[in-house]
Amino acid sequence: MAAPVLGIDLGTTNSLAALVGADGKPAALRGLDGEAIVPSVVSFAEGGAVVVGRAARRRAADDPMHTVFSVKRLMGKGIEDLTEVERSHCPYEFVPADGSQLRLKIRGREYTPQEISAQILREVVNRASAVVGETVTRVVITVPAYFDESQKQATMAAGQIAGLQVLRILNEPTAASLAYGLDGLHDGVVVVYDLGGGTFDVSVLKIESGVFRVLATNGDAALGGDDFDRAIAERCAQEMRAAGVPETALRDPGLLQVLRAAAERAKMELSEKLETELVISEDRLGVRWRRTLARAEFESIVAPLIERTVGPCRRALSDAELEPEQVHAVVLVGGATYVPAVRARVEQLFGRKPYCELNPMEVVALGAAVQAKKLEGGFQNLLLLDVTPLSLGTETYGGAVAKVIPRNTAIPARASEQFTTFTDNQTAIVFHICQGERELAKDCRSLGKLILRGIPGMPAGMPRVDVTFHIDSDGLLTVTAQERRSGVKAKVEIVPKHGLSLDEITRLVQEAAAHAKEDFVAARLATLRADAEFVLRKLDARVADAAGRLDAETLSEIQTARDGVVDAMAGQSPDGIDGALHYLEDVARPLVEMTMNTVAQRAVSGKLLDEVTQSAERTKAAAPAHDGSGPLSVKRG
């Protein structure tokens, strides 16, 4: 029997896979190390090894120039599509500067975001194959519903480059609804509010005896929890600048990664605590800085971002012709929905407490697994009817867009529109295919051009050209044009301006396959051993630094975890080392915090210390005290 079809949530910050078990229920696949989540981070080590996941994230601060975060934000985009903020937070070099799919230049080689995503997919699939005991080759990959054609195609290409057969590109909120309604106990109108690492989707669905029908979808393909981190990091950077930290240090890629990681952790902690502390300590740059951050202040920093989700929610409801009272449940998806202020805003908007029973981190992958099972022939009575999120049309004379398929049309979809020539004896017509809601073609996403040639000479306005759009069940578009009198035809599968041509994909698939022959395990093992050595050196220094002030229990825990790493280093399993390091990281957290605090207190300049203390007191006065001993949440981002 063939290996099962795997459901994959390819997220901005985290990725994971799931499968439907023998009990008919989907479950996240845990790797041999017990972890379900693979951070969507890819690091290119010296000597050609590619490190993916937690190991890559560990390398970020020490090797920022060769470690790629949030590559999903770059999928299907040209450099001109990136916001200033997005660009300033990517330390690596982009090529080219013109309008085509951007590439990252790393260690002298150019990578498309599709290739980097393929690395993440490969890691997820390899881990899954190891657990399943068979080589997984067929997958369902989720994408934000609000991704445009280029972005969806880029995701499809990433799957192909990873050597996978992508059976379906599935919208994330739709996937979440599958996981939510699978038990048949939640029929009714459901809103899925999905605020992930880098994208926001809202979908309105009707669930009825196994049929999941999307009524409307909306969103913002460039808004997510990442932006919360950036906003905090940005605020900290401003304050550090004011406190005299030199500009060169503030632009240092390593420091930016440290800042980003600290901001992310502060965000997560503030979901449970009312106050947290950011400690930035980079000996290399002589930077030592700290500040407390109260939940209320955090909320005021991110409020404008949360507010940006309101418009799409209203639009989706309005497109579905529903009032908030007609909604039976609002389901929260995505790591950023842990933030209490997000929950509060959603509750206010829909006038009801959101449904938080599902694990927001896993639910999309679970739904992908359900769809995967369906595509294997299971779940015969379950059916998913999705829509296309953005209107599609062609540019007409004068630059306006004639909409051929409006947004929220059920897919598969087809629609035709008639066009004619503008001048006498015109023998060719160019159809500029656009996606988006704006009136003018220049304000919409350009998807490419279709040229119909060989029209017999006729007076202007005489030819009758039918342009037919077909959107398939993956949401991908094909356009054909035919002149009725002569029967002249043209057909294109749209290759978006920012996409990869079929030739490019084929070449990358071959390259990737060639690479796969190299000994990846050995390369990974070498990198992880080097990583481990580095971590142990740092740890030993810290233990010495904290001498006597650490309780015996923690110290012995750390020692056990350290031994675990040393043992794993002697073994042959990269996952073994990775897992041991991860455990050590968790156990050593109190030590890291303690030493950072001491170092900071010892070395902070007088002026800075005053400021820090004042700010700490202010925030303490504003927020109720907490004991600070609560568990840190580590599984989200």
Binding site: G24, L383, L385, P412, D472
Partner: protein
Amino acid sequence: MAESPNRPAHPLDAPEAAAGGSACGSLGHTPAASICAVPSRCVRCDEPLTTPLVCGSCRTVFPAANEYDHFARFGLPRTMEIDERDLERRYLMLSRGLHPDQFAVRGTEDKLLAEQLSAHVNDAFSVLKDRFRRAEYLLELEGGPQRAQEKRTPAGFLAEMLEVNEQIEEARGALDDSARKQMASLRAEITKRRDAFLAEVAQAFASLPAQGDLRRPGVLLKIRERLNACAYLEGLSVQIREMLVS
């Protein structure tokens, strides 16, 4: 083609009866006055057919969607009088029979056919479920004038709209809470007005004189004028909606 794929144990995998797959006839009868030429029985299993595209019993697919109009695809007569609940049930039955996901374990050819047929069904559903689009489509089938050729609206309509337009522009200038409320109720008015026109249209279709009857062009024109007014009202409604959402 009739084989069912493997089924794991799961509530949603219970035999199809619950979701309406098995009984073509359970979706309500096709009125006797039906004018669509739809085969009445499946050539494969001889069960009665609800629609000409797929057999609800054995799920055989009949690749002839292009030969039928939207009404026929749903096994319905050409009429304005469609029960929305019934239409939705028919849509779900067609989707269960034709959605490409249902063909996942079959050959590529079947899957491609399902992509095409399913797109036709979705197209038909979007037209039939919306009374305005349904009327436009019916008028086209009956050979009535299209909007591009005949732009007239009922007497007095445009004059009346001048005032409505003014109200909207005024509200746009100062969109405070009271203006929002006013716009919401104006939008409700507009919808009511549109529904009234559509009721007239439905009536006109119901008593449409036969081909060759000299009164027929007049009735078709009357329908055209009312649909033009509906299109205009819909435009205003969308404007207000966009204003209120932003």
